[in-house]
Symmetry: C2
């Protein structure tokens, strides 16, 4: 009754080599988060649908994976539930739970449920899978990891600066050149106030973003097409043409936005934050980018986006400040700021630039070739001793043909094999062979150990 | 529109302290698996229901969490599907996918799907969550981690011995005293052949297991109640009364089972395996236990169970050899052997015996108290330098009251706070205070660094 096995579309198996590379990224992230005093939490894969529904917009609701109630799930379903446009209604009758769609809503739920145990400011990180019933395509999966780091319960802008430091530390360790783009929601609000067009702020940032490609005239034309009056476009012109370094830009903006209290507050926040970055001697490029408008529906202060300098792949890290994350669950006035690292994209960047260190590929340092029972008996205590010293070694489990055993070492990218036959046993020595060069030496046990350490 | 948040029953949030402790266990397991040359894989949380159904018995099928098809899932459902006992049939019409129930079936599916990439013997480990729609109760959850380590594609008994070595290494690192109980399915088959009662082997092992509690007469009575004839009970008597060390037991069994080819093969396997354990100088107690009968429906050779010597909690690790794991998916004659570590039970044992090291609790080594803008500016470069040296430090993000900042350090179990005011800045020094003793000293930066390393 054998069946040809398959897996659902949009999800993946990860092989040992892929796992080693992925763990290299995850470990770098986790170690860095800890270095800055962030602590890990985990939330369950399943949340009540009441926790998830309505948090990600209408489109998001559709992308939730729902879990069929166990037991006699259909007992309250009646024929009428099957009629017309009732699929959604029916699903609420037969499903109470759904799979986590992101880490942010479960985090908010966690903070509210555990508010009496949590110490504020709560610096937490979370590296877990999320699930989305999206149409699968290249680089978009139905199951993927998010790596979120947030601090909640503190308004201080030092937190924003610390997140940028985390970005710097992570990407230096991974050897990826990046640029951090920073904006502030309050500045965008200020611009909208200036021309009294709060609804069009996204249109405006999209248009400004095209300056390099279509030139000033192109941008102005696009703004006209978006029904922004000539008078208002005239007011926007100096913002479109804003240039110079961040300090200069902020000085210019301060003059332009002098009528907007919110806009000025945004500028002050940016000054404080960039000042912190200077104090901590940040070395990766960090620049003000007014066209950055991600997450406008929830960010209230800083907005971040990190791009690879060498691979065109969109943002590999992003985030911002949100002033009322936990309000949806009844805990008001808790401000937070956080960023999320995109592990799959980081993986793709590292693959393209060949940045994974050689050592990541294999965990086994040496394979002891198995020549038979007598040699096994002689070698096993030494194998155990090497492991006691923390060295990862294997003994091939049976006396297979030499070619097969060496092929095994080769496939697993094990750098050394150890050969012990009659000669070696008589002289209390080990022949160690370096797989890549093919060179081999006879050594004593202590020397072998040092070689493999 | 705030709602009081909750999570589904049977699943859990893990706080930072719990995560640190759990990671201590997971890291110990993973590091040990790697030390023995095992490599990690991951499979998706969702499998096709066709992969999962029928693999865990009728009861298991009921415990699978099924995922509602996305989109218009109910389009092919008709009113008749709702009638009578049709819940099961209906679920197959509206669900194609289910959540992973264990790691073994997905592993078999993985090996078959990737048979051309996999190098045999394939030594793999997998640490992932599984989901079961079981009735939640103390110590039983609907979402929990399994930690499996298996080698597939090798019949050699050295693999069995290696798994026992892994058990030894893990529990020595975790400081848990354990005993390994070992049985062999072939010996049990031999016993069944001896009295021609293949169906009653479980009844027999259950009865023999009670020898200590109910005495020989009790056991014999129980066997009679199980419809085993007096003549056959007479044959079983020397097996029930089997005593002495493993070698003695095997010698006695060899005589008793001399008529059973399978039984003798089992004895030979056990001799070889115990001999390997001797060669590798295993120090934890490993004993033959004929009453061990776990997984009788799929194990074909060795059967393992590991128990804590100091806490009564059932088996904390278990496994065995299975000769045809991948056959269900069309790949025949691949033998494997593996064990699974129960992370939740190991956690409970360590909590009860207070075995988690102090250092596990906090990741942050020192908190820099925040006295205001001037001190921040002075301290931030030093904070960055300590992190560059790999020391996890935090600066409180704002100049809150001293009591609040020290309370924060205390709650997070941060062992040191660093205080820098006017005096310290003038003399280029740092006051470091040990939280537990309350002692404090003034030190230079290098000394501070050494203290925190």
């Amino acid at each position: 009754m054998a069946q040809a096995p398959s897996i659902p579309k949009g999800v993946r198996d990860f092989s040992p080599v892929e796992m080693n590379k992925r763990n290299y990224i995850f470990d770098t992230l986790k170690d860095t988060f800890k270095l800055f005093g962030y602590e890990q939490i985990e939330t369950p894969s399943m949340e009540n649908l009441s926790t998830l529904l309505g948090k990600y917009g209408e489109e998001g609701d559709k992308l939730l994976f729902k879990i069929l109630n166990s037991g006699d799930f259909a007992k309250s379903v009646v024929a009428a539930d099957l009629e017309g446009e009732n699929s959604n209604f029916l699903s609420t009758k037969i499903c109470e739970k759904g799979l986590r769609y992101d880490l942010t809503v479960p985090f908010a739920r966690y903070v509210v449920m555990h508010q009496n145990e949590v110490v504020f400011p709560f610096k937490r990180f979370q590296v877990q899978q999320v699930w989305r019933a999206d149409r699968p395509q290249k680089g978009r999966y139905r199951e993927f990891y998010q790596c979120d780091v947030d601090v909640i319960g503190s308004n201080a802008l030092l937190n924003e600066a610390e997140l940028v430091q985390i970005v710097e530390t992570v990407y230096k360790k991974l050897n990826i050149n990046v640029t951090v783009k920073i904006n502030n929601r309050k500045i965008l609000t200020g611009i909208a106030e200036l021309i009294d067009e709060a609804d069009k702020i996204t249109d405006i940032t999209v248009a400004i973003d095209k300056l390099d490609k279509i030139g000033l005239d192109g941008v102005l034309k696009e703004l006209q097409e978006r029904q922004i009056s000539d008078e208002k476009i005239e007011i926007l012109k100096p913002i479109i043409l804003l240039s110079g370094d961040t300090e200069l830009k902020l000085n210019t903006l301060e003059k332009i936005l002098s009528v907007s209290e919110t806009g000025l507050k945004g500028i002050k926040e940016m000054r404080t934050m960039f000042n912190y970055l200077k104090m901590t001697k940040i070395t990766i490029p960090c620049e003000l980018d007014l066209t950055l408008a991600r997450g406008l529906n929830y960010y209230t202060g800083a907005i971040f986006e990190v791009k690879s300098d060498d691979v065109q792949i969109g943002s590999i890290t992003g985030g911002g400040r949100y002033d009322d994350l936990t309000g949806i669950f009844g805990l008001k006035n808790i401000s937070g700021v956080g960023i999320s690292f995109g592990a799959d994209r980081i993986y793709d960047v590292m693959e393209q630039l060949n940045l994974f260190p050689e050592t990541v590929v294999s965990s086994t340092k040496a394979l002891f070739v198995n020549f038979g029972a007598k040699e096994e008996a002689w070698n096993l205590p030494f194998v155990a001793k090497l492991r006691d010293a923390g060295i990862s070694v294997e003994m091939y489990p049976e006396a297979a043909k030499m070619k097969k055993q060496l092929g095994y070492a080769d496939s697993k990218k094990i750098p050394f094999v150890v050969l012990v036959g009659e000669d070696e046993m008589n002289s209390n020595q080990f022949t160690i062979k370096e797989m890549e060069s093919g060179e081999q030496w006879k050594v004593g046990f202590e020397e072998l150990k040092i070689k493999l350490l």
